[in-house]
């Protein structure tokens, strides 16, 4: 008996992982950049 698979489940899973992964990478990078530049400016101001 053949296993029945809904192809859309795989499409949604792959696109979900890809989109969320990309957005997390962009958001985390921007947050880390802003934090590092603020720290540098604080150190300069001391």
């Amino acid at each position: 008996m053949h296993e029945q698979m809904n192809q859309w489940d795989f499409v949604v899973a792959a696109l979900g992982i890809g989109v969320v992964g990309t957005l997390v990478l962009v958001g985390w990078t921007l947050w880390a950049m802003v934090r590092a530049e603020r720290r540098r400016d604080r150190v300069r101001g001391k």
């Binding site: 795989f10 499409v11 992982i17 990478l25 950049m33 540098r40 001391k46």
Partner: protein
Amino acid sequence: MHGFANPARFLRLARWLMPLLLVPGLILAFGALAWGVLVVPPDRLMGDTVRILFIHVPCVWLGMAGWSMIAISSIVELVWRHPLANIAARAAAVPGAVFTALGLATGSIWGRPTWGTWWVWDGRLTSFLILLFLYLGYIALASASQRDMAAGGGASRVTAIFGLVGAINIPIINRSVVWWNSLHQPPSITMGRSSIDGTFQWPLLIAAIGFSLIFGGVVLARMRMLLADIQAEARLRRKAMG
């Protein structure tokens, strides 16, 4: 090229270039994905799973492009000792690793309904998994070398040599489907030739351009972050020494 050896000049460029890459990149990438999901018809053989390729292919391309950037920056660092080359290589490592992991995950999800298996130890998949391990090794080495540099050592050259040696894996990944029998199909796009129908090729091309712009924007943001860390550490060291 040495004009950008001055961090202030580079930062001026990066400040306006970074959003110019990120914003159109996000619009193009997610627009192409929506096009691939909502407009493109199912493929005759793959059915609806063809839509996974609109994210899988750009991720795989960027995994390989990221290491190529590390290798080129390593050459520039070792030969010309450009001060930003080491920072550029380190900035490409994390996004390269993320896109490699996403390429592996989306490829595995595509493989299950198409090949009937999540994973096979063939040349293409194994060499791409090795690329992920190379990235993790590079990130660990770069982090250690940053601490060593802060202590006055010269370990960054070891990182550059590792980046150069790891580049051997890139042509292996590229040619693996030609050299060894594989479940993975042979290259669909080669120099000047494509076996992909235009219906699928255009959204794929736009997705690849969009994700490449995102990658460029993320690399610039990480270079700004690394430069800010270096400048803050240098300032603190100078103060500590009086």
